[in-house]
Symmetry: C2
Subunit: 410 residues, 2 copies
């Protein structure tokens, strides 16, 4: 009994039959005496299709207009799911971001939630309605449609769970049973985790594990929303709980929780920049003002007053980043720009890493043994990432999964 | 010089190449020194696809949710067109119904415009932006998304023209050069009209001529908005002007302006209703409260205190109408319900008809000569409509077009 938030991803609503199944599952939850708030993604493939159409007209696309176009996918699936629930005899109501309202800043395509007005949802739930909220969407103070970035429906679900003080936030996935030590498609020996800490999940999510959106996990950690990642295909089995680190005592002896990879990466190098104070700010301020998230930054040792700076950005921001960087490079009198979007980031994640040495060296030697050249390295307390050529991604992940014995106990 | 409203239908934005062409034409209009406000329909086929998806989940569909789903088509095309204009170097801004805001009543799927707030559009035009408004959509007082009915983008364009006191309202069509004496696909001899009165256009539109939405014409007549129906394919040629009847003097001698047909018709008969006062109100009030537009109504002579009542509704409202009518029929103690959605309405329209007799009889004898049985008849001052079996539609239209010599002068 209580308020249950359920989020269904794109593959879970990819067809009318799947939408009908979701409607049935939502109703079963409602009939157990719960209030149910559903957050839904666009039908699988829709967002990609809309982005592709847009890019054919304008590349890089105008981000305000791109949000108008892409947010339509969730609008459609929320309406269809509400109809499907009604067809099964329960009352339902779809709400878009501008109707809820989910107010965000105006950083189009990666907007941040500023506040949520939960009154309309509360009123509808109070009348016994099942509320279906279109994920991914928000609206800025002026009423412009915004979107929360790829995987943004997870964030919608988590933020609504926090705003409504929900008793449970269930994230249904069609393609996975829960969180694994690595991508099971890549590493057949990958093992499902029963629990994982926010921090580890965060590293895994930001490193390209497609299961949960990083910002959703951050938000959940900040507001203490316990997440339950569950398989749509086996709705009665437990998936993986994402919880606070303190609740992870049983995992103390585990060094590494997972290996992940991220191909949505591109790197840009500015060569022979005059090395003087404020250079980094001059390079990265225009990028950050355009809302581009720079991930890794490496600055080589300065030689004869000049240095090379390399950084990575999401591949989707590659062209825009080059345009901005070329402008700055000219102003700074740098020699030239070298860029490459055929790279990938491979990472090891684990809270156990904090108190154990030797993880980094074992990682580097494992990659070396496979003949994989490391292009960039960055580390945090619970993560080590290496950038490698894209073609080595799968090989690197499998080799590391083996080297750290993450597979099922044989 | 001035404010030009241009509306592009679904076939005019059916592909990315067509959207690019529209962007170019809009820019040419802007570069002549005009302010330009564009209204755009969904890409051809999209609305049908979305309705089909919805009907597979719920039939009849929940109309609030159907509006959520179908309005997404215009959202996508408005964003794409704005991007395409920006890609060509002009500033553009897309606006949805809820952003403009175009406030309507809450009669979902056939909402009526209550008021338009033109401030945001004026501000954007003042900054030199080309404004692209998603057609077909509105929003009710509570912020629920509504739609204006099939062809509703025409109404959006006309209503915005009136609200902004536009100098011109151009309705671009991809599939026709203007208004014809009949459907040229059906009647090869059909002739393009240079001018037509609101009244005639209204009869043609409401009779299923797909060129303009009836309510858009009504609105234009009420607010004196002169319409110019123009071919997208030949943007420099004149199409057909829709004007006040007084401006039609040169057409005095023309008896009939056109023949049209409408297959979006279904008929329902309630047999042996006890004939007492208030019966009609009891039958038609539930239909009108559900927003169903009943078109023709025929009540046969009462026999032994009982009568049969037949009426037609749009085919899309057929199932809903039967459910409502069955309920009333039971209450009234009627014998049973006979229904048929394999019918069509064929009509003759012309202001000249007012002052000429013999049109009706010539129509009936023409149909008789072709062996076409007339199922229902209704007449107005400038129109005669006959319901016939659907399979005779094309034959009836061609025979009438010939009989009234509407073709090109040979």
């Amino acid at each position: 009994m209580g308020l249950i938030v359920q989020k269904y991803g794109g593959t879970s609503v990819a067809s009318l039959d799947k939408i009908k199944w979701v409607a049935g599952h939502v109703i079963r939850t409602k009939e157990k005496g719960n209030d149910v708030l559903v957050v839904v993604s666009a039908m699988a493939g829709e967002t990609d299709k809309l982005v592709k159409l847009s890019l054919q007209l304008m590349d890089p696309p105008d981000e305000r207009e791109l949000d108008v176009v892409t947010s339509s996918g969730e609008q459609v699936s929320s309406g269809l799911l509400a109809m499907s629930i009604k067809a099964l005899g329960h009352d339902a109501l779809s709400l878009q971001g501008h109707q809820v309202r989910i107010v965000t800043d105006n950083a189009h395509s990666k907007a941040k939630i500023v506040r949520i007005d939960a009154e309309r949802i509360k009123k509808a739930l109070g009348k016994g309605k099942i509320v279906v909220v279109a994920g991914f969407q928000g609206v800025d103070e002026e009423g412009n449609v915004t979107t929360l970035g790829r995987g943004g429906s997870d964030l919608t679900a988590v933020a609504l769970s926090a705003a409504l003080n929900a008793d449970s936030c269930e994230l249904y996935k069609d393609d996975v049973d829960g969180i694994y030590t690595s991508d099971p498609g890549l590493v057949p020996a990958a093992r499902k985790l029963d629990k994982i800490s926010y921090e580890e999940m965060l590293e895994l999510a930001s490193l390209g594990s497609k299961v949960l959106q990083a910002r959703a996990v951050e938000f959940a950690m900040k507001f203490g929303v316990t997440l339950h990642v569950r398989p749509t295909t086996k709705p009665d089995t437990e998936g993986t709980w994402v919880v606070e680190e303190e609740k992870m005592t049983q995992l103390e002896n585990i060094l590494i929780s997972g290996v992940s990879s991220d191909k949505n990466q591109a790197k840009i190098t500015i060569t022979q920049v005059p090395d003087s104070p404020g250079i980094a700010a001059k390079i990265f301020t225009p990028l950050s003002e355009s809302g581009i998230i720079v991930d890794m930054i490496v600055q080589n040792v300065s030689i004869e007053g000049h240095t090379d700076i390399t950084f990575t950005v999401p591949r989707t921001d590659f062209k825009k980043s080059i345009i901005l960087t070329e402008k700055v490079a000219k102003q700074l009198g740098a020699k030239n720009i070298i860029s490459d979007d055929k790279i990938a980031k491979v990472s090891l994640v684990g809270v156990g890493m904090k108190t154990h040495s030797g993880v980094a060296s074992r990682m580097f030697s494992t990659l070396a043994k496979e003949g994989i050249n490391i292009l960039m390295i960055s580390t945090s307390e619970i993560k080590i990432s290496c950038v490698v050529e894209e073609k080595y991604t799968e090989l690197a992940v499998r080799a590391l999964h083996d080297a750290f014995e993450l597979g099922e106990t044989k």
